[in-house]
């Protein structure tokens, strides 16, 4: 059984959705953050890929491209002890409470 990411030749008759959505600010930010982490040697491309490939198949298929990136970066950096998920939860809560 191929991994959920290993998509070549998976049977589908679906036409390709050619609609292009403008990239969102957070997605641009995510991409740049990844670049900064790569530059510091904290995230190898293959580690990122491994993190994405580990996403549970149902989730993988329903997540958007950058959502998978975000999920992987959080997992890999947590694994490396760079931060904890709780620290991210707390920061998220701080932003919510503080408004924008």
């Amino acid at each position: 059984m191929p991994g959920v990411h290993d998509r070549g030749g998976w049977p589908t008759e679906e036409p390709i959705d050619q609609e292009e959505h403008p990239v969102m600010d957070w997605e641009v930010r995510m991409s740049a953050l990844l670049g900064a982490l790569r530059g510091k040697g904290l995230m190898r491309t293959d580690e990122m890929r491994r993190g994405i490939e580990a996403i549970e198949p149902g989730k993988y298929e329903s997540m958007s491209y950058y959502e998978r990136w975000a999920e992987s970066v959080e997992s890999i950096l947590t694994e490396k002890g760079v931060f904890t998920r709780e620290e991210i939860d707390r920061k998220m809560a701080e932003f919510s409470e503080g408004g924008v």
Partner: protein, 100 residues
């Protein structure tokens, strides 16, 4: 021929079989190419091994990366396009063995 300090095993035109190795976890050999026979088009040189990089390894020892071509009709039983249609992919040397 020596490429990046390694002896190049497959020359252009060499027939190779893509192995179906029992690798648990990250690798860059798509399921649809495993067990298929192709032809070496070129050697890109030596690259760090993604299967090591993905888990925090150094990527050593590096591996030769080969561009291998396949006939579409060999990949898919139901391929309807012309016989000459082909696919090329980059495969790491430990996933290949000589084929006749």
């Amino acid at each position: 021929m020596v490429v990046g300090g390694k002896i190049q095993e497959y020359g252009e035109g060499g027939r190779v079989l893509v192995l179906d190795l029992e690798v648990r976890g990250h690798n860059r050999t798509p399921w649809y190419l495993r067990g298929k026979i192709g032809k070496v088009e070129r050697c890109h040189g030596a690259y760090p091994n993604p299967e090591s990089l993905a888990y925090g390894g150094t990527g050593e020892p590096t591996e030769l990366l080969y561009l291998v071509s396949f006939q579409m009709r060999d990949l898919w039983d139901d391929y309807e396009g012309p016989e000459a249609d082909a696919l090329q992919a980059d495969i790491f040397e430990h996933w290949l063995e000589p084929a006749w």
